[in-house]
Structures are given as structure tokens and as C-alpha cells.
């Protein structure tokens, strides 16, 4: 399988900062993977995301060395607007992302700006609505939506550009648990049914870790652990870094269950099958 994202020896220092936010980072993400990036506040995970969609170096000023190749193109040499058709970006606070008067107009906004034909715009809007399950919100204004609905609309709006990769920076942190779970399972479904690559930055590993096929842990601007979530998050080192490991995993550590027999579970479902 080809790598859809390749980060090579990447170092980036924001203008005015003394130390790099990311240093000597290498990362390969295969097409169709579901990656969770985590780590203590200030570890560089948001900066890494900004490098994937070209906001760095084109929008945020600073010094960049190394290379970021996304879907075969070098982000340094590609405009953010061109990259936006490959990499969709979702922020923590969807309010900052919604601009139109109603949901349907919101979804049509980006493809209209690309100058696509009317029919194509209509098809894309309908497809995105269906993928995310927001048909019933079609004529609602952004302010009439709950936080979880706003976030789903923001995701649908990005999907109208048909990106290959979806990058989400703590998309659930303002949401109640049920709305948050809905977003996370939605992403899992988009990943499974459409093969879209998902790159999710999160602190709430209880909620997201079990859906991912790889967890990347960062600290001080570097990737320090990378691997299958049950393995990566089991290491005491990761817990000592201040990463909030899932409570179920913590419980298994507390029980001192022999790790060689069972991989540590991430969810109550996995745990009950090991225990009983």
C-alpha cells in the first residue's frame, strides 16, 4: 500500500520562537489508516497537523526544514487551496468554520468556490449530507444547531471537497459524551466504508483509541512512541509522559494481569471477554 503522507526530517520553528515546535520528525501514513496523534499539551501535535495541510509554511510564519509529501505532492511547493482538495481539516471549535446561513448553503460553499458545475455541486452536497447523516438539518441555521450537529456539518462541508485525508484537531473536546461518541463512530464509518485516511488529534483516548489502527505519541516536538494502540498505550513511559490512557487499560495495569497472555484491552467490551 502506498504512503499517502510522508514526513521526512521535519523541523519547524515558529517566527519569534526560540525552540522548534517540531524537530527531526519522520512519519509515514498509509492510505486508509486511522491514526490518533496524542501527547501532552505543547508537544507539537497541532503543529504537525498544520504541516499536513500546508498551513505551515504558507500561513504560519517560521523556519521549516525537511519535507512533507501529501498524496505525492510537496506541501512546500503547493498552494493551501490546492491541498484543501486532498486534505480536509476540522478544528476544535466548529463555530469558527461555519459561515453560511443554512446547512445546505454551507455545504455548497466550498465546491462553489472551486467553480464546479451546478449539477456536480448538488451531487456533492447530497453525498456529503448522506455520509454524515445530516439530511434533517438541511435548512437549519448554524446557530440553531447543537455543538455536535455543528461539528457534523463542519465535517460534511469538508467532505464536499472529496479529500483523501481528513485531519481533525480535537474535534470532540467541546462535546458531551454522546455527541462525541457519535463523531468518533462517524469517522470510523467514513474510514471503513470510503477508505478515507483519518488523522485525529485527541486527548480523550478513552473514546477514540479503540477505533484507530495506530497511535502516535509526541513529546517535546518529537514522535516518541508509535504503534498499535493496545501496545503503544500499555507502556509505562507513555503514562509517565502525562498522556491520559484509557481507564480500562489503567485497570488492567492495576490488576497486574500478565501482559504476555493478553494484549491490554481498550474498551469494556474487550475487557469483559478477557476477564470472564
Amino acid at each position: 500500500m502506498p504512503a499517502t503522507v510522508r514526513v521526512e526530517n521535519l523541523t519547524f520553528t515558529y517566527a519569534g520562537a526560540r525552540r522548534p515546535a517540531i524537530k527531526n520528525t519522520n512519519l509515514e501514513i498509509m492510505e486508509g489508516e486511522y491514526i490518533v496523534i496524542t501527547g501532552p499539551t505543547g508537544c507539537g501535535k497541532t503543529t504537525l497537523c498544520r504541516c499536513l495541510n500546508g498551513l505551515i509554511p504558507h500561513f504560519h510564519q517560521g523556519k521549516m526544514t525537511g519535507k512533507v509529501i501529501v498524496n505525492g505532492v510537496d506541501t512546500y511547493k503547493t498552494k493551501v487551496s490546492d491541498l484543501s482538495q486532498t486534505v480536509g481539516f476540522i478544528f476544535q471549535d466548529p463555530e469558527n468554520q461555519l459561515v453560511a446561513l443554512n446547512v445546505e448553503r454551507e455545504l455548497a460553499f466550498a465546491p462553489e468556490n472551486l467553480g464546479l458545475p451546478r449539477e456536480e455541486i448538488r451531487t456533492r452536497v447530497e453525498e456529503a449530507m448522506e455520509m454524515v447523516g445530516i439530511e434533517e438539518l438541511r435548512y437549519k441555521a448554524p446557530y440553531e444547531l447543537s455543538g455536535g450537529e455543528q461539528q457534523r456539518v463542519a465535517i460534511a462541508a469538508v467532505l464536499t471537497l472529496k479529500p483523501k485525508i481528513l485531519v481533525l484537531d480535537e474535534p470532540t473536546s467541546n462535546l458531551d459524551p454522546v455527541s462525541a461518541r457519535r463523531i468518533v463512530t462517524l469517522l470510523a464509518r467514513i474510514n471503513r466504508d470510503h477508505g478515507m485516511t483519518i488523522i485525529l488529534v485527541e486527548h480523550r483516548l478513552d473514546l477514540v483509541a479503540s477505533y484507530s489502527n495506530k497511535v502516535v505519541v509526541m513529546n517535546n516536538g518529537e514522535i516518541v512512541v508509535e504503534g498499535e494502540p493496545r501496545v503503544a498505550l500499555s507502556s509505562d513511559y507513555v503514562e509517565e509522559l502525562g498522556v491520559g490512557i484509557p481507564k480500562i487499560l489503567k485497570l488492567f495495569k492495576e490488576l497486574q494481569i500478565d501482559r504476555s497472555k493478553h494484549a491490554f484491552p481498550l474498551t469494556p467490551e474487550e475487557a469483559v471477554n478477557i476477564l470472564t
Binding site: T41, L175, V178, D206, K247, L251, T267
Partner: protein
């Protein structure tokens, strides 16, 4: 003590956010107010420091009716830390942000310096003393907002979604901090949808949905009750979910457990693990 009696509140041109809420919070309690987005949690706690006044019903804080006292008077008693730090922060440096309230309350310069220093150390913000609050990360800005409230030492501290954007170790630190305020005799009210955090630190949970209180009781009762959780768009803590699943297979396994330690010891007892 805070007493809310049958309070109703509707935002201008907006929804009715509170529909007859009655609640009593005694001194030295540590309470979490939980519920789905839009349940009315923030609207409720904004009544405790006079930022909002009830349109019907009454709120009294230590015997003072909030309709009859100024926000300034209440602000010293009830420190409110906003959910969105950007609604609270405005100064050029972290130091002046934190010192602002103290200057306003007329503390002498030397005392202000001492208190700011102390609270910046407590919240691990010393290194940002001369930085602009707006150059910090979201999680750090939230800690600055917390610092600017803690420094004037209010008797009642209200924290609105303090765990958002905080990593595991900061969350733990925050929880321990809240716990220690409580031990010092302060009343702490935390608005949160973080069930794991509430399970670990709150003694009492007030669960809200659609402008009403749905349940009010010890966290062991509220966070383990599927009906309440569903109505308030909450999920049980992971440890509770595991206990409930084990109980479906192991007769007599307790289900009213919320912490990792409790569930671990029940597993040792029942399954000999």
C-alpha cells in the same frame, strides 16, 4: 451556601434555558454539574455570581439575594472561571491578567505580587509570566483564567468545563487542586461533561437535561444509572461499564462502582484475578 429556588431563565430571542431549577449547595461541597450540550449548566452557574439574574424564582448566596446585590459584591465571594478563556482574558501579559482583579479589589502592590507569584507557580505558569495570554495554547489560556480567579481567594469557586484541552497529567493536577481547595474548606462547583473526571473527583453529581435537573445525588448513584445517563447524554465511566458487563455474566458482581480502584478490587474478589 447557595440556594436556587424554582428559577426560570430565557435568553432574549433565545431558548428557555432554565425551567424551574431548585438546588441547594452547602458550604464545603464538591459538586459536578453535568449534562448534554445546551442542558442549561452554564446558565445555571452564571446565576451563582450574579452574571445572570433569575426571571422567576430566586438565588441566594450566603443569605444574599442575587437580585439585591451587585456583581462586584458577589464576584469576591464567588469566583467564576469561564469555559472559553478568551471571553475572560484581555491583558497584555499573563502577570497583569492575573493581577487585574487584585488591583481592582485594592490589594497593596506587594500583596498582589506575592499572590500572583504563588498562583502562577501553583498552575505551572511561571515561565509565561511576561508572555501574552493570547500566545499560549488553549489549555494554557484556561489555566491563566483559573489563576486570575484563584488569586483573590474566593470562598466559592465555579469552574466551567475546566478539563477541555487539558492532557492527562494536567487533568490529574487540576483534579488534585480542586480536591485540595475543597479540603481547605472551599465550595467547588464544576460544570463538566467529562465523566471520568467527575467520577474521580466529585462527591455529588447534579445531572441536567433541557433546562431541568434530572438527578441529584452521590456520583456512585448518578453515574451508574443508565436511565439518567441516557436522558442527560452522558456515558457511564469506563470502569462502571466494565462492572456492568461483568455483572451480566457473573452473578452478584456489584455495578454501583465508578473508580478504577473499586472495580479492580471487585474483580480480585469475584474473579480471583
Amino acid at each position: 451556601m447557595i440556594t436556587a429556588e424554582e428559577i426560570w431563565f430565557t435568553y432574549p430571542d433565545g431558548p428557555t434555558a432554565l425551567r424551574g431549577v431548585s438546588l441547594r449547595i452547602r458550604d464545603r461541597e464538591l459538586v459536578a454539574i453535568m449534562g448534554e450540550n445546551g442542558a442549561g449548566k452554564t446558565t445555571l452557574v452564571k446565576h451563582f455570581n450574579g452574571l445572570l439574574r433569575p426571571q422567576e424564582g430566586s438565588v441566594t448566596v450566603d443569605g444574599l439575594n442575587t437580585l439585591q446585590v451587585s456583581v462586584a459584591e458577589l464576584a469576591r465571594k464567588v469566583g467564576y472561571v469561564f469555559q472559553n478563556a478568551d471571553h475572560q482574558l484581555f491583558s497584555e501579559t499573563v502577570y497583569s491578567e492575573v493581577a487585574f482583579a487584585l488591583n481592582n479589589f485594592g490589594y497593596p502592590e506587594k500583596e498582589t505580587r506575592r499572590r500572583v507569584q504563588q498562583v502562577l507557580r501553583l498552575l505551572d505558569l511561571e515561565k509565561y509570566r511576561n508572555s501574552s495570554p493570547f500566545s499560549l495554547s488553549g489549555g494554557e489560556r484556561k489555566r491563566v483564567a483559573l489563576a486570575s480567579t484563584l488569586c483573590f481567594d474566593p470562598e466559592i469557586i465555579v469552574l466551567d468545563e475546566p478539563t477541555i484541552g487539558q492532557d492527562g497529567s494536567q487533568k490529574k493536577k487540576l483534579g488534585e487542586l480542586i480536591h485540595s481547595f475543597n479540603l481547605e474548606g472551599k465550595t467547588v462547583i464544576v460544570v463538566t461533561h467529562d465523566v471520568e473526571f467527575a467520577a474521580e473527583y466529585a462527591q455529588r453529581i447534579v445531572a441536567m437535561a433541557r433546562g431541568r435537573i434530572i438527578a441529584d445525588g452521590p456520583s456512585k448513584k448518578v453515574l451508574t444509572n443508565p436511565k439518567i445517563l441516557e436522558e442527560c447524554a452522558l456515558l457511564a465511566p469506563q470502569a462502571t461499564q466494565l462492572a456492568q458487563r461483568i455483572s451480566e455474566r457473573v452473578k452478584g458482581f456489584p455495578t454501583e462502582l465508578v473508580s478504577v480502584e473499586e472495580v479492580a478490587s471487585a474483580i480480585r474478589e469475584f474473579l480471583g484475578g
